[in-house]
Amino acid sequence: MVNGKWLMARALRLAIYHLTFAIYHGPFFVALLIAGADDVLEAPMATTPMEEFLARLRGTRVWKSVFRRGPARSNRTRSLAVFGNIFLHAVPAKVREKSLRVRATYYLGSITFFLFVVLLITGIMLMFYYHPAIPQAYRDMKDLRFAVANGVFLRNLHRLGAQAMVAAVFAHMFHVFYRGGYRPPREFNWVVGVVLLLVTLFLSYTGYLLPWDQLAFWAITVGTNIISAMPVLGPKIRFLALGGNLVGENALLRFYVLHCVVLPLAAVVLIAVHFWRVQKDGGLTVGEDDVIPAKAGNQPPLDSRLRGNDKGEHGRKEI
């Protein structure tokens, strides 16, 4: 029910979170400023005290030992900023201007990945409060609501992020399809993406059981009953998934391990492959004029590339 007390509580929470939010995300902006201020502001000389401070900071031995490059004022150091960094080298040093347009991606892939990161962080925090046991699992949900500071918010973030990630994966896939992003040479990455879709669905589904409430129990019961419909192997697969014939203690433990260890690891590995292949396959699809042949006849006809003859992707003979 919406009443005065409820609204007050929400308003208070909102205020608290604006504060924590600033503390959380402040470092992002600071890092961005430190790393890229001179690019963004295009100030060749340190003029303000802040810029002087940053310039001096960059000159220190410690800073240089970490970043090993000068300020990103030339394209060389800008490239180094990307491929000299293990986290950033998942993206290419240069991107086509067309692939940066909002309509090229709507940031759907990025959003999916960011949601995955949010889910990893909130998921680890939830693990500090969760026991995969009956009925303790449900009591932990109650604890999150009534005893843990901001436990509701934490669970809300994880639940919402999970639903949003499933939706984002679907949206990403359909968008890539309509843009023709599955065409050679990107066909394998499309397949990796389909596997990632399945991993995401399994992640969401295994997480669905963990609160051990009526919603969780019956959703998993309905879902796993479908497996039994498979001839011969069905009941055996169901037994394997649940660790028994009913959704019980063993099922909860198995789903917990799948949800917290096996599937996230699989997702991380596959995401790495997915990102890496985007680069290796020539960047994002930018449409029909993806590759404009310099001269007519330069590019082998699509047919010959599809047939997998001795010509490589670039039309060179592979020796």
């Binding site: 929400r10 939010f21 040093a93 309509y178 498979m230």
Partner: protein, 229 residues
């Protein structure tokens, strides 16, 4: 002799072990890949955008999480079956199918076919080339499309699968309508006239999946009967 030839062939000293790194045969000189258009440095152009996207996403997530609460029902009770017992929303399309078809078909065959179909998309030339469906032998293709659609509609009607039939009729109608459209003048149908067959199949799939999910989520009550939300 052959053994001697490769002795130490993988050493790194180029002076001791000169290696052939490339040879150029006739007419296979390195080719220029062509103009890929204007390029920008990922740093800062891409990374700045990504950081902003992440910030916006984080803000939206936080705000929604503040006003919406994750559902939590009573402790799980195997003896008390809720009616209806619903799967998560992304599986409600499947659950809706289970209402019409036997469990083996709706729960095993159709999901497997969907996954296989998604995986093989890039390996069929017809999907890769993406020629308009009406570009080839129009009359023959129209007859094939008509027969397939009628067979599909009859099949779905026999199983009373109305929530599958409705989007099928809409998309099928658009497909047939885009053929019957004779005028060469560009109008709202022009877009559909130039779509390839992969587009039609995927759009049909999305339309069906969306309809089933929405119906399963909002319009199904006790005993999977139709209710208004």
């Amino acid at each position: 002799m052959a053994e001697k030839k490769y002795e130490g062939g993988f050493g790194s000293d180029a002076v001791k072990n000169p290696q052939r790194i490339v040879f150029i045969t006739k007419k296979t000189s390195a080719k220029v890949r062509g103009d890929v258009g204007k390029q920008l440095m990922s740093y800062p152009h891409l990374l700045l955008r990504e950081v902003i996207a992440f910030q916006v996403l984080a803000i939206v997530l936080v705000v929604v999480s503040l006003v919406w609460d994750a559902p939590l029902e009573q402790l799980a009770n195997p003896l008390l079956t809720p009616n209806p017992a619903k799967a998560p929303w992304y599986f409600l399309g499947l659950q809706e199918l289970l209402h019409y078809f036997p469990p083996f078909v709706a729960g095993i065959v159709i999901p497997t076919l969907v996954v296989v179909a998604l995986v093989v998309i890039p390996y069929f030339n017809i999907n890769v080339k993406g020629e308009p469906f009406w570009a080839g032998n129009r009359e023959k293709r129209f007859r094939v499309a008509l027969v397939v659609l009628i067979a599909l509609a009859v099949f779905l009607a026999v199983f009373d699968a109305w929530t599958v039939l409705a989007p099928t009729v809409v998309i099928g109608g658009l497909l047939l309508g885009s053929y019957l459209q004779k005028t060469a003048e560009p109008n709202w149908m022009t877009y559909f006239r130039t779509r390839p067959v992969s587009w039609w199949v995927m759009t049909w799939f999305i339309a069906v999946a969306l309809t089933l999910t929405i119906v399963g989520t909002f319009f199904r009550g006790p005993g999977w009967s139709w209710v208004w939300p």
